[in-house]
């Protein structure tokens, strides 16, 4: 059984008097440990699809089974639990809490999972080590480069041991070198059995995925599997710095 199963999912928004059909019947199965890139122009419905897959939004019609469970009709509170346990988010703008150490940023999902303090520290440190930032645990976001901040965000997504990682334009604010670093990390996670769904508009980035789903006008235009390009990190150049959540 696929880990993510969307059956004829539609989403309609109402903006004043106008009905906006963001998704017009999308069916998509994503298997465990698959690395999928979703592409499409803005307005193609890829963000809406991500929000539904990420349990941030509910479909207007159709069914969504996550890990075998029907989630499209769950209450807000139960959706929050679902996100907490099954899904890790990575955002374009990192969304780290400012003036808060990397370790505490990574601990955040565990805080809402009710994990005890010693276990929380241990697991957060472990997640930071996994993204290669064990030595930066006590740095604040403003003391780190953009690439490091995005890796902290990935560690935060990993810490609750999710089945799926959803990355929304994760390389949008990164230079090409750090983008490749991040893609290498995602490929490694796929090998470790974590499903990665990536939204991007950069064809270069999509090449690192094993499957490319292209969206247009709320429908899937194409769905192709490919041999992914292996992410090889080029030699270091100067890194940029990005703002965290003020």
């Amino acid at each position: 059984m696929p880990l993510i199963q969307l059956v004829d999912v539609a989403k309609t928004y109402r903006m004043g008097d106008v009905e906006v059909h963001a998704l017009r019947g999308v069916s998509l199965d994503i298997e465990l440990a698959e690395f999928t890139a979703i592409m499409g122009a803005s307005g193609s419905g890829k963000s809406t699809l991500m929000n539904i897959v990420g349990c941030l939004d509910r479909p207007s019609s159709g069914r969504y089974l996550l890990d075998g469970q029907e989630v499209s009709r769950l209450s807000t509170e139960r959706l929050a639990e679902m996100r907490n346990r099954t899904i890790g988010f990575v955002f374009q703008s990192f969304n780290l809490l400012a003036r808060t150490s990397a370790l505490e940023n990574v601990e955040l999902p565990l805080l809402y999972a009710g994990v005890s303090t010693p276990e929380r520290h241990a697991r957060a440190a472990e997640a930071l080590a996994r993204v290669g930032l064990a030595d930066r645990a006590h740095h604040h976001p403003n003391q780190m480069s953009g690439g490091q901040q995005q890796r902290v965000a990935i560690a935060r997504a990993l810490v609750s041991r999710p089945r799926v990682i959803l990355a929304d334009e994760p390389t949008g604010n990164l230079d090409s070198r750090t983008s490749v670093e991040v893609m290498a990390l995602f490929q490694e996670l796929g090998r470790a059995g974590i499903t990665v769904v990536l939204v991007t508009h950069e064809p270069d980035i999509a090449q690192y995925a094993g499957r490319i789903v292209v969206m247009r006008d709320g429908r899937i235009l194409s769905d192709t599997r490919q041999v992914p390009r292996q992410a090889v990190v080029p030699p270091p150049v100067a890194e940029d710095r990005r703002e965290a959540i003020p």
Binding site: G54, L56, R83, P109, L111, Y112
Partner: protein, 409 residues
């Protein structure tokens, strides 16, 4: 999320904007400290008033004889002796609301010890008088009914008189003093009572049996009381009834026709005391109103800052929701922040209020009374204000849509 974690997150959020948090709590601080200080001072004043009235006597009434009219000129109360010993006996025995009654005959005169002299008040009365005035002896004993019956020359003196005649360390018991050349043996020294509200020294007094007083100090008509009657009612609620009953009894006994004026008057000291207490009650109500207004203002300040904070932290809220915070977690977090602001303000206010009261008290010589219940109520009330005014911002935060919140700039 556990309570402790929620509190930690709240404290962290508040300390991130220290100046803003401090300014926000200022409304609470000022309100609570003003109330704490004023209540401490007000209670101190009230306690002093109560102590002063307790010193006068408990549930005490004074019956004064009537006035005489000579050629149109009214004499004052007591200028015409109308109260008889029979009246006193009737008040003592016939009225259920009267606990005790005693005559009060007064004279001013010089009192001599072997080597000192002092001019003071001399009272002639019966042993009930000490009970009415709630005035115990400090040394020795009081004179008894047999002293009154036998007209013995014994005296009980106040602390001031004892000090003036024998020095402050001497034991005056058994010593002889001369009043109007009559030797009296001191049998007791009264406990110190201090001053009345009008500055009169209660302890400047010599008390002798009423019979001896009449025979040796101030003669007069045998049947009437050349003074007043002190009465103690059975309880604080009984003074008004005792007054009515005494009036009825005396009018009966004096055969006053319907419509005629009383030929005596009754002073109810408890009424004066309760009027004073009424005054402090008004003051307390006023303080409560000030407290309510300042807490309201403080609460609005907290609500304002919490709303700003929710807007500023929209993305943080979105992120917390995305990683698994439920709406209830978000609501609790903002509620705890508002609560913490209010309670911290309240606690600082209590500290400042107590310090302020203490400072005022020491510099003006006022009495202050710290009441733990008032402090607890003040802190509890600030907490309540925090919750009430934090509710709307917290609810607003919890209702945010994580998708829109995450995109918020």
């Amino acid at each position: 999320m556990s309570w402790l974690q929620t509190l930690r997150v709240a404290v962290r959020a508040l300390t991130r904007n220290k100046l803003r948090s401090f300014l926000t709590t200022l409304g609470m601080v000022i309100g609570v400290s003003a109330v704490i200080a004023m209540v401490a001072i007000g209670d101190g004043a009230k306690a002093r008033v109560e102590a002063a009235f307790a010193a006068m006597g408990s549930n005490m009434l004074v019956v004064l004889p009537g006035t005489s009219t000579a050629g149109g000129a009214m004499g004052g109360f007591g200028s015409m002796p109308t109260l008889t010993w029979e009246d006193l006996k009737a008040i003592q025995t016939e009225l259920p609301t009267v606990r005790a009654a005693a005559p009060q005959l007064r004279s001013t005169g010089q009192v001599l010890s072997e080597d000192q002299n002092w001019t003071t008040q001399i009272f002639g009365t019966t042993p009930e008088y000490f009970q009415i005035r709630t005035w115990p002896v400090a040394h020795g004993e009081l004179f008894t009914h047999s002293d009154v019956d036998g007209g013995t020359k014994v005296a009980v003196v106040g602390q001031t008189v004892a000090d003036k005649l024998f020095g402050s360390n001497a034991n005056p018991i058994g010593q002889v003093i001369r009043v109007k050349n009559v030797p009296f043996t001191i049998v007791g020294v009264l406990a110190k009572k201090g001053q009345s509200q009008w500055g009169q020294d209660y302890d400047d007094i010599v008390v002798v049996p009423v019979s001896t007083f009449q025979q040796k100090i101030q003669g007069g008509l045998k049947n009437v009381i050349a003074g007043s009657i002190a009465v103690s009612a059975t309880g604080p609620d009984a003074t008004a009834r005792a007054e009515t009953q005494i009036r009825g009894l005396l009018r009966d006994r004096h055969r006053l026709p319907q419509g005629a004026d009383d030929d005596f008057s009754i002073r109810n000291l408890s009424e004066i005391a309760s009027a004073q207490q009424e005054g402090t009650r008004t003051l307390t109500t006023l303080l409560a109103a000030i407290a309510a207004v300042s807490l309201l203002v403080g609460g609005i300040g907290i609500m304002n800052i919490m709303l700003v904070s929710v807007t500023e932290r929209t993305r943080e809220i979105g992120l917390r929701m995305a990683v698994g915070a439920k709406p209830s977690d978000i609501r609790l977090q903002f509620l705890v922040e508002a609560l913490a602001l209010a309670v911290i303000g309240g606690l600082i206010g209590v500290g400042l209020g107590l310090a302020g009261a203490w400072r005022l008290a020491t510099s003006f010589g006022w009495e202050v009374l710290y009441r733990p219940d008032v402090i607890a109520i003040a802190v509890g009330f600030s907490g309540l204000v925090g919750v009430v005014f934090g509710l709307y911002p917290a609810h607003k935060a919890s209702r945010l849509d994580p998708i829109t919140a995450l995109r918020f700039e």
